[in-house]
Symmetry: C2
Subunit: 491 residues, 2 copies
Amino acid sequence: MSDRDAARPTPRIPRGFRDLFAADLAARRQMVQTIIGVYERFGFEALDTPAFEYLDVLGKFLPESDTPAGGVFALRDDDEQWMALRYDHTAPLSRFYAQHGNRLTNPFRRYQVGPVWRQEKPGPGRFREFYQCDFDTVGTDSMVADAEICAVVATCFEALGIGRGDYILKVNNRKVLGGVLDAIGLPQDQSGGRLTVLRAIDKLDRLGEDGVRLLLGKGRMDASGDYTRGAGLAAEQIEIVMGYLGACVSDRQEVCGRLRELVGGSEEGEEGVRELEEIHDLLDAMDLGPDQVLFDPSVVRGLAYYTGPVVEAVLTFEVEEDGEKRELGSLLGGGRYDDLVERFTGEKIPATGASIGVDRLLAALEALGRLEADRAERPVVITIFERDRMADYQRMASDLRSAGIAAELYLGKKGFRQQLKYADKRDSPVAVIAGSNEFEGGTVTLKDLRLGKKLSREITDREKWKEQPAQVSVKREDLVSGVRSLLERHS
Amino acid sequence: MSDRDAARPTPRIPRGFRDLFAADLAARRQMVQTIIGVYERFGFEALDTPAFEYLDVLGKFLPESDTPAGGVFALRDDDEQWMALRYDHTAPLSRFYAQHGNRLTNPFRRYQVGPVWRQEKPGPGRFREFYQCDFDTVGTDSMVADAEICAVVATCFEALGIGRGDYILKVNNRKVLGGVLDAIGLPQDQSGGRLTVLRAIDKLDRLGEDGVRLLLGKGRMDASGDYTRGAGLAAEQIEIVMGYLGACVSDRQEVCGRLRELVGGSEEGEEGVRELEEIHDLLDAMDLGPDQVLFDPSVVRGLAYYTGPVVEAVLTFEVEEDGEKRELGSLLGGGRYDDLVERFTGEKIPATGASIGVDRLLAALEALGRLEADRAERPVVITIFERDRMADYQRMASDLRSAGIAAELYLGKKGFRQQLKYADKRDSPVAVIAGSNEFEGGTVTLKDLRLGKKLSREITDREKWKEQPAQVSVKREDLVSGVRSLLERHS
């Protein structure tokens, strides 16, 4: 190895990051545009905060972990202040609102779309940079804003082709759970007893009822022998909590009735039930039935910061990945957080919102076959025979582009067969061929590259395709119309 | 101040960063979509690399400064490797191509749009996070790829409403300058003599001819008394370089002729002139005249890494900012860089491309009055009179949204006048009003909020507007058609 070699860096991508290719990006772009369209129809307006915030402004908690600091990509600016990349869109919104709230319309509805970064351990399908589409309403305690979260999400899903029945939104209210814990006499202390109960409940999906029972009681040993201390509830307390978790039925009003019994007169609990009833009426007004939105008391949303209604969305079917069927997990998380702006100003500002996870939603659309590549946009490839005729080839490309048809010259140095291979790899619909014969005769040859592919898929209909030859010769001045008619064959 | 107050962080944004509001974002989104559309029509496909790259992969140079390290936001990952945020889209492309080149179509055309980050001193209009739209062709030394840079950019500008005559693309070739320096006997050494000449030439815009003459000779003292050492050329050498810099005339072929004389038989110089001639033929084939693309030998593009044709784009008029007319500077920079992938693989891979600066281009569009806000998208505001009728108001919003009309309920707690003020601040086109009278009569009142604004602008035509009352009453079931007809008044 020479000195030069030794100095060469290895081209590699940082752990937990990835490159996204054209097909992924086209799908994401299309999806995000649909989502933004829905957000705007509901009156949310765009906001873009910078990638960096000061670390003290972001606060010490990642939303879905309770570990202090860590979890963010932080660095010291040249004036020695610590900055970090945003780990979600909510913390920057709180900063923004605390800074500019007086000048904004009040209530303030905004959406934000873009990457967030988390310095977590990367794993399969677990990236350290990912896209989120958030929408939030700040400055109102009206349940309309909470009910509309469901309407926004249902409208997004259905606009994207995830039909009624393929998804379910699950709504709960943290106040109801608070009421249940009041009712069983668990004190609202600072020691974290209630947080332990929340964490236990949040593991229902993963550990099942028995696991949660153990975590609500003395504790639980996992398969590896690790022991998690429990919340230390007594047996009858555990039964009430488990009854609460199992209170989900399809009739939302019936759920409210059961919950009212369980909160046993707790003021906070009663308020939570009233809020759910109000949400139910509003959902009804928007024609959102129980096949779209359920009240499910087992939904907690790990975050400590939620203070009222919470919501998540799941698919009702399993998706196949690497040959294995599995549940895709929550496509969306959200809820009411009335304390986040207070951190800065001391003033309680009610707020509610939700965040759509772009990658999971893309995976869902793929599983449903809703991600059809926009093949019409692939470029026509103009092959090169006569290297001293580049200006003529260039003019062909120019003519096609002026007519709105994507086109490119082959710019490599290979022969004709290799050029067709290139066109195939580009998924090009049409190759334009012009050699000395064509230039002399004032013509071009057009090769329909999709015909072959289509023929092999639709062999039953060979007769039909015989009438449509794979290769046609047209006059040079008819290049555009000739290409267009080949493109239209397959549209 | 209480302990709580003391612990409160101040809501503030990091230095050199900014929040972008809905109107800015809508303009950017629209502009970027137009640009992407053109890129795709030319056969470029999307690629998205992550925000982070390993520091050794990015290399030690910011493209437009020659200072080692610094200038990037870098941090150590938890495995102790140094990572940094990308400072442009070219370095990540080089890494990507070095890693995946074998599996890509060759040549490979890609575009990338997104933020880049530079840890530079912030200043007015100088941000540390900004958007760039890059497109590059990797794997070909064909001048078609270079000529197409001009075609792509001209098409983008004209699609955005920057017409012929409002902009000019300036093309040069670094090889020609190399040839001129050959011709005056300046050696191709490692001591940086040629780089000093490049830097001097690059300052022509700022310092004028006399300043450049000084920098080519012994050196120059600036107004503050700082002295910059010159390249140390002799008087006759300086005259040749100055003659070269002044060789720009509108006839591109004539420029090529003058340059051929100036390079005086230098092999590199002759090759550079031949490349420009080839580019001229290709520009002609794409109908790009000298009012769109000039050959201007004074264009250097500071970067050390360019190896052949270089291009920049400027507006032909000054824009007004803060009451002062000024030139907007280059909207685009690009050129051929045949060495960047070699850094990783040892193999020379020819590449060429350019980068559109989104913020400057937006400023240009604003100066040209091409940024019309899309007012049609502002939400209809449904005002609230009867708080126990929220479900009914919600249904109205739902009906409007289902018809594709943006709508929102007022969710604050204020009275009617305040609600109309809110609607005005939202720039809402129509307010929906329903109190007990309306509910009893099965009607809604619609208030045309744009009419007042329009009246005050178009007072000459008052008669016309008298026929169109600002407030109409329609049946509840005609809400959607009623709102639509008010919206159509102003479209």
